[in-house]
Structure formats: structure tokens, C-alpha cells
């Protein structure tokens, strides 16, 4: 009788099963994050809820669950709903649970408006009137909402201009003044008396200050223009609220939008989320600085980790005399890969920040002390700490790659008269390149997800100044930065408005995963090209 099972079959099946479970879990995780995050931006219809006690709310349905009575037992038929009612300035909270048995009626009036504001969260209400240049347009007039949209669009243009002046021109001025001030301080610290130079510096500062006055006046003008037009809204209960249009990001009427319109709106909002700066202590607005910081940090880390990892691996595999010493080093490298990341963080703080950073400050940035320049957390130190954290991965992967280069290829090269260096450089390294890139991929994947060591080496809650800007030397390695991983932690555990921030936690998590995938795919594409290129040489 033939045996149904070969002796090893069970193991194959078990590993297959394990793989399946893992894939399902990854899929489930992605699905959860994607639905909770991506779904939150969809413009849900807004309902006018009238409760039996007479109070009314304009709210978007968030979730629905079975009522749990005061006895603590879940009811089996009564539900309650969680509404996003907005109007934080009116109600104190953005969200509210309402028992369905308390609701007298729900309708979905097409004229209900949601205003996304720069402060205080969303406003839900009805358009009463628009005050445009002193003339009043009643909200019931045909096309009034279109007028409102146009006016908001114009106000946003002014707002962008303000941002441009604040970040561009005034940023330049501040940078210049700070530089001159430090020069002045440097002069006085070296106790050089150089009146000519001193007055020259002072003159420059005055010049900057004059320029500042001009742009300040310009800003003042723009700000008054921003608040010139107003909109008057009525809340569900009929309370009036006057708001300057400059404080509104956008207005929309979800009940009046078709599916295509909603989809277009969704895309616009999504783009806003990834391209805007955060607002309101990070609970609103976008996450652009965090995306930028994460990508830049990973790139800096890759630039540092690759040469070090590859050179170390080359030495260990090709040049070092294989013996006890090399074996000990190898064991150490492998162990290093298992050290908890926070330990690297502490090392980074002690060695980079306080050690090297302190020395750099006391030599090159004396005039800025006691304010530390490099002696505090920054993107450079964070990248270096992560480079240390990931260097074992690169070493191990590269060594594997080097070991797999066939002996006969090396010997062929040597037989043709190439020196050892030439063989390594021209024959061995190209064949091992794909393996090195595998190491890099693993390193990137690990580094992007790390948060703990970053928290103490330079990541902050809010750093609107990007580490790259138009001021020489363009890349400011000493600056603190924002990071998606830390952003998730901050939104999740420290945000002042936990409920409003929750969808943003998922969105941010989704983007973080997306960025890891994009970085990895880029590396994989490069690796595959290299594989093809060197396919002939690697047997």
C-alpha cells in the first residue's frame, strides 16, 4: 500500500500553513489601517438629528453600537450612535453618543454645510448670509453657496501668499539677522575691538529690520484683507455665528454631492493631507513635514550605513585572516543586531549629542552657547544612531553576498593577472551588489519603523522648518525634525482631542507603511536591474 504522506510532508504543510497565517495577518492589518484611515476622509452625509428632548444637532454618523445600560449589560436590540457634531466652540466636544431611542427624527437637508476651519475644528450649520465687501448676500439666494466657495478660494489664495511671505521673505530676514547677531556676539567674545566691522554688522541688521518692516506692513494688509469678508452661519439649534472667511479652509455640502463629486473631493482632501502643514497641535491639517523628515532621515542613514557596512563586510570576508578574532567580531556584529533600539538611542544621546555635538559646539558654534547647535537632538544624530542600529544588517547581508561569489570567478580574475584589490573591486563587488542592496532594503525597513531611539535624538512634535531650505548650506543637519512613527505616537497618546485625532493615527500609519513599501520597491527594482546586468558574471 502506497504511503499517502512522505516523512517530511507534515513539515512542509506546517510551514505552508504558517506562511498563510502570516500573510492573512499582514493583509488584515493593512485592511484595518486602510479602512479606518482612508475611510475617515470620505465626506459622509450630515444628518439633522432632532432629539425627543427638543435639542437638535447636525452630525455625521461615526459608529453604531448596542446600548449598554446602567446595569452594565448589553442590550440586544437598542442601538446608539456616535455623531461627529463639530462646533467645538459651541458644545465643548466634537463628538457625542446618542441613544437611538432618544432620536425623534433624522433628515438630510441638502443645504447643510460643513466648514473646515483653521481653528476649533469643523463647523456644522446652515448658511445664513455672506457679507462680501459690505454687501449682504442672503444664504437662501440662488448660487449663494457658489459665491461662498469662490470667496473661500480667494481667501485661501491670500492665505497662501501670507505663508509665502512668512516662510520665504521673513524666514530669510530672520536667518540673516540671527547670523549677524552671532557674528556680533563672536566679536565681543573674542574681545576684539573692531569698530569698523561692528558698525558694518549693525548696519546690516538695520537693513534687515527695515526689510522686515516692509514685509510686516504687507502682511498686515493681507491679514485685513483676509478678514474683510465674513460668513454668518446658523447652528442646528439656530445660534448665529459670524466667521471671517480667512479662517475657513473649505466649505462643502455632503448631502448635495453626488458620488463623483464626493470622490473628487476625497482626492483633493487626501492631497491636502499629504502636502499641508499640521494645524491645531497636529490634530488637523496635513503631515507633510513628517513625511519629509522620515524620508530624509532614511536617505541620510542609507548614505552613512552603506559604505561602513560594505567596507566592514569586505574586510571581514576578503582581507581579514580567518581566525578566532574574526569569529569574535562576527559574533559581536550578530549580537549587535539584536540589541534593543532604545539602547542605541541612549548611546546616541551620550556619544553623539553630548559627546561629539558638545565638542562641535564648543569649537565652531561658541557664539551661540549656551543655546546648543549640534549639542542637542537633530536629524544628523538621529540618522547616525539609526545607521549604527542597522549596520549589522548590512554587514551580514553583504557577507552572505560575498560568500556566494563562486571561487572560480575570483581565481579566474587572479589568474589573468589582476591584483587582489582589482579582483575585489571589479569582479567580486559587482556580483555581490544585489546582496548589498538586500541588506539596504532590510536596513531601510527597520529604520523607517523605529521610533524609540529617535524620540531622544531629535524628533519633535512640531517642527515646521524643514531640514532642507533655501539658505546656505541648504541641508541643515542640526535641525530637529518630525517623523511619521513619532507622529503616530504623539497623535495616539498625547493629542488634546483624541477622538478627532484617531482617524489621523490610522492615516499616518497607512502612509508610513506606504513609504516603507515605496522605498523597498525602489531598492528592489534597482537590485533586479543589477542582477540582470551581472547575471553572466555570477555564473
Amino acid at each position: 500500500m502506497p504511503r499517502l504522506w512522505k516523512p517530511g510532508d507534515a513539515y512542509v504543510w506546517i510551514s505552508g500553513l504558517a506562511l498563510m497565517v502570516t500573510l492573512v495577518m499582514i493583509g488584515g492589518l493593512l485592511f484595518l489601517i486602510a479602512t479606518k484611515g482612508l475611510g475617515s476622509m470620505w465626506p459622509v452625509d450630515i444628518g439633522h438629528y432632532t432629539l425627543k428632548d427638543g435639542s437638535t444637532y447636525l452630525g455625521q454618523l461615526q459608529s453604531r453600537e448596542l446600548v449598554r445600560g446602567t446595569s452594565g449589560v448589553k442590550s440586544d436590540s437598542d442601538f446608539r450612535v456616535k455623531l461627529k457634531i463639530g462646533n467645538r466652540d459651541l458644545y465643548g466636544l466634537d463628538f457625542r453618543w446618542i441613544d437611538e431611542t432618544d432620536i425623534a427624527s433624522i433628515d438630510y437637508p441638502p443645504e447643510a454645510v460643513i466648514l473646515e476651519r483653521r481653528e476649533w475644528g469643523n463647523y456644522h450649520g446652515y448658511l445664513k448670509e455672506i457679507r462680501k465687501n459690505g454687501t449682504v448676500i442672503p444664504g437662501t439666494a440662488p448660487g449663494a453657496f457658489g459665491v461662498l466657495e469662490d470667496l473661500i478660494h480667494d481667501a485661501n489664495k491670500i492665505y497662501d501668499e501670507i505663508l509665502k511671505i512668512e516662510k520665504g521673505e521673513i524666514g530669510d530676514i530672520n536667518y540673516g539677522i540671527e547670523k549677524q547677531r552671532l557674528k556680533l556676539r563672536g566679536l565681543s567674545m573674542r574681545s576684539e575691538s573692531n569698530p569698523a566691522k561692528e558698525s558694518e554688522i549693525r548696519l546690516k541688521i538695520e537693513e534687515y529690520e527695515a526689510r522686515y518692516k516692509i514685509s510686516e506692513a504687507e502682511l498686515g494688509k493681507l491679514y485685513t484683507e483676509l478678514t474683510r469678508n465674513e460668513v454668518v452661519m446658523l447652528s442646528a439649534a439656530g445660534d448665529e455665528k459670524v466667521m471671517p472667511l480667512g479662517k475657513i479652509v473649505l466649505a462643502f455640502r455632503p448631502n448635495d454631492m453626488g458620488f463623483a463629486q464626493k470622490a473628487g473631493f476625497y482626492v483633493e482632501r487626501f492631497w491636502g493631507f499629504i502636502s499641508d502643514d499640521p494645524r491645531e497641535a497636529n490634530t488637523e491639517g496635513g503631515i507633510f513635514p513628517a513625511i519629509f523628515g522620515t524620508v530624509l532621515m532614511v536617505l541620510l542613514m542609507s548614505i552613512v550605513v552603506m559604505p561602513f557596512g560594505v567596507i566592514a563586510a569586505l574586510y571581514l570576508r576578503e582581507y581579514a585572516k580567518q581566525g578566532l578574532m574574526v569569529r569574535i567580531v562576527r559574533i559581536c556584529v550578530n549580537n549587535l543586531a539584536g540589541v534593543p533600539s532604545i539602547v542605541f538611542g541612549v548611546f546616541g544621546v551620550g556619544f553623539f549629542l553630548y559627546g561629539i555635538g558638545g565638542i562641535i559646539d564648543s569649537v565652531f558654534f561658541k557664539e551661540a552657547l549656551p543655546n546648543p547647535t549640534f549639542g542637542t537632538g537633530g536629524i544628523l544624530w538621529a540618522s547616525l544612531t539609526l545607521a549604527l542600529l542597522t549596520v549589522p544588517v548590512v554587514i551580514v547581508a553583504t557577507e552572505e553576498g560575498l560568500a556566494s561569489v563562486p571561487r572560480n570567478i575570483r581565481e579566474g580574475s587572479l589568474a589573468l593577472g589582476a591584483t587582489k584589490f582589482e579582483t575585489t573591486w571589479k569582479v567580486v563587488i559587482p556580483s555581490a551588489l544585489p546582496a548589498m542592496l538586500t541588506g539596504l532594503i532590510l536596513a531601510i525597513a527597520r529604520a523607517t519603523g523605529e521610533v524609540a531611539p529617535l524620540m531622544i535624538t531629535g524628533v519633535v512634535k512640531l517642527a515646521p522648518d524643514l531640514p532642507i531650505d533655501g539658505h546656505f548650506p541648504f541641508l541643515h543637519l542640526e535641525r530637529k525634525f518630525m517623523h511619521l512613527g513619532f507622529h503616530i505616537y504623539d497623535l495616539g497618546f498625547q493629542s488634546p482631542n483624541a477622538e478627532a485625532a484617531k482617524p489621523m493615527v490610522f492615516m499616518t500609519a497607512f502612509l508610513l507603511i506606504l513609504i516603507v513599501i515605496i522605498l523597498n520597491i525602489t531598492a528592489i527594482i534597482i537590485r533586479n536591474r543589477l542582477r540582470k546586468k551581472y547575471a553572466t558574471s555570477a555564473v
Binding site: 458644545y91 465643548g92 466636544l93 491645531e280 497636529n282 512634535k461 483624541a498
Partner: protein, 330 residues
């Protein structure tokens, strides 16, 4: 004459109604005292605002800084909030200009500052926080006395609570809840909230080992939101729709009070506190314009409106004018 008295009584009635409404609305619609002056811009303010300190005040500082930067676009802010205990060392080392703290400095910290600077740091109360005890929204508990709170959170019950409370039934609620265990959430020890709660609600006793220490105020609230049997403490600014801030009583006889402005100012609610901003101010010497203006901004109508936006409670006009005098703002 009759007409007049009718009008008078009507007016009185209207005032009483308005007051009563104000009380009912309570914490939800707090308004800034209109007597607090509005902030006006002055020339010559620029530089960096560096603040290191309280996690409770982290968002508040961020909001203030964002608002202040609207007046002075050339001011930049760097705000770190890892706990009140991190404020004094940073002030002493000079790496920060402002030390937000959710509790007063301890005498040890003041001494350490004095040793370096030669004078005491200046504390400026910026806003009022009610430390609320949160339970899940489905928890029927309405009110707890400090003794009960102590018995829930503390292992040695220094406030004199009789026996340990570890099931909800022991707080006096019945039904299904009677046998449900209490799961306790709290803050980590670097936090000023941790220290304040220990001092005021635990009578300096020790926390139970079963308290789940959370890394942030918001995390406590979220823990209680998800955990039906949870109870935790956190600033009133972190309230969400998933939790209930219960009333507290100093003693059972004195009655229960909601965490709102009236009850805190009237010292009826036991866990009201000021949120402080510490600065290094030489006595008899004016502050530099940046710090002075920032403090003036906080002690202005706009600054106090931000306090409300973040969910905390604003100062009274009298307190503000007293404080403005101490910093030399008038």
C-alpha cells in the same frame, strides 16, 4: 410704581435665569472674562521661544506659540513636553526660557535653581485645570469621595479610607457592576499630574502596583474609553465623548461637585490646580521683550481663549491683572 417693581422683578428673574443657565452649561461654554485686556502688538519682538516641561501643557504651549507667532511671524517655537520634572533642569541649564509645569516646583528644585541663579524662579499661573477622574461612559458611577478615590488608587490609603476598593460594587453601585473588578489607569512618574494626584487625592500615599502607567494624558483617557471597568485621572482638557468625568466630594457630607470653573474657583471641587509657567526673572529687572510679550499674550484675552480651546479653564480678570503687575506688564 407697580410697573417699576414688575420690571425690576422681571430683570432680577432674567439675571437669575442667566446665572442658572451659566451654571447648568458649566464647563462647556466657559467664556473669557471680558475685563481681561486684549493683546496688542508691539514692535521689536523676535527670536526663539524654547520651552521644556509639562506634558499636560504641551498642547497649550503649542497653541499659544502658534497664536503668538501670528502676531510676530519672526518668532519661532520649539516645544518639548516630556513631564513637569524636566522643566527645572532645563531652566537651570539655560536651554529653555519657559518651564511649563502642571505643579509647583518642589523646594528641592527651587533650591537647585537658586544655587545657580542666586534668586528664586518666578512662577506664573497661566490657567486652571481640573484634574478629573474619568470612568467609561457606560459606568453608572456619578460621584466618588476622595477617600474612595484614595482606596481605589492607593495601596496604603493615607487619606483614611477604610478598606481597599478593587471591585466596582465597593464604591456603592449595584447590579452587574457589583462584582466587576476595577482596572486602574494612571500617569508615569515624570508627570506633574502624577505628583499632584498623589499629593491631593492619595494624601501622599503610594500608588497601587496594579495602576497601568500611561505615557500621556490622552492615553489614560483612551485606556478608560476602551476599558469598560476602567478608571483613571487626567486633565479636564483631555475629555472625550467616550468617558465621563465624575463628580468628586472632599468628604461625603460636603457633597459632590462637578469639575467646572465655579466649583474650582469656589474651592468646592477638590482637584483644581493652576498650570504654571516658570521663568528665570531677575528681581527688580525687566524681562527681555520676547519673554515679556509672550507672557503678556498668555495673560490676554486671546491667550485665555486658547486656554478654553484646549479644554482648560481661564483665569479671572482680577488674577490676570495681579499677574500682569508681577511680570511688569503694565
Amino acid at each position: 410704581m407697580k410697573n417699576l417693581s414688575v420690571t425690576l422683578s422681571f430683570t432680577l428673574f432674567a439675571i437669575v435665569c442667566a446665572l442658572a443657565l451659566g451654571f447648568v452649561a458649566g464647563a462647556q461654554t466657559v467664556k473669557v472674562d471680558p475685563a481681561i485686556p486684549s493683546y496688542t502688538k508691539v514692535p521689536g519682538v523676535s527670536g526663539n521661544i524654547d520651552s521644556v516641561g509639562s506634558d499636560t501643557m504641551n498642547n497649550l504651549m503649542t497653541f499659544w506659540c502658534e497664536g503668538f507667532a501670528k502676531f510676530y511671524p519672526n518668532v519661532k517655537c520649539q516645544i518639548e513636553g516630556k513631564g513637569s520634572s524636566t522643566a527645572p533642569p532645563a531652566l537651570i541649564a539655560g536651554t529653555s526660557q519657559f518651564g511649563p509645569m502642571s505643579r509647583m516646583m518642589k523646594s528641592k528644585e527651587v533650591d537647585a535653581f537658586e544655587k545657580v541663579a542666586g534668586y528664586k524662579p518666578t512662577a506664573i499661573p497661566t490657567s486652571i485645570d481640573a484634574l478629573a477622574v474619568y470612568v467609561n461612559k457606560d459606568n453608572p458611577t456619578e460621584c466618588l469621595s476622595i477617600k474612595q478615590v484614595d482606596a481605589i488608587f492607593s495601596k496604603n490609603r493615607k487619606c483614611g479610607g477604610g478598606s481597599d476598593i478593587n471591585i466596582w460594587g465597593a464604591t456603592g453601585i449595584g447590579g452587574d457592576w457589583a462584582n466587576k473588578p476595577i482596572s486602574v489607569y494612571g500617569r508615569n512618574s515624570a508627570s506633574g499630574t502624577y505628583g499632584y494626584f498623589k499629593k491631593k487625592a492619595l494624601c501622599k500615599g503610594d500608588y497601587k502596583d496594579t495602576v497601568k502607567e500611561q505615557p500621556g494624558s490622552s492615553a489614560v483617557v483612551q485606556g478608560v474609553t476602551e476599558d469598560l471597568q476602567g478608571v483613571g485621572y487626567s486633565g479636564i482638557g483631555y475629555k472625550t465623548s467616550g468617558v465621563k468625568a465624575i463628580k468628586l466630594a472632599k468628604t461625603v457630607e460636603k457633597g459632590c461637585f462637578e469639575p467646572n470653573l465655579e466649583n474650582i474657583v469656589g474651592k468646592k471641587y477638590p482637584l483644581g490646580r493652576y498650570l504654571y509657567l516658570y521663568v528665570n526673572k531677575k528681581p527688580n529687572e525687566a524681562l527681555d521683550p520676547l519673554r515679556l510679550e509672550f507672557l503678556k499674550y498668555i495673560l490676554s484675552r486671546q491667550g485665555q481663549e486658547i486656554v478654553i480651546k484646549d479644554g482648560y479653564l481661564p483665569l479671572s480678570a482680577a488674577k490676570v491683572s495681579e499677574l500682569r503687575a508681577t511680570i511688569g506688564a503694565n
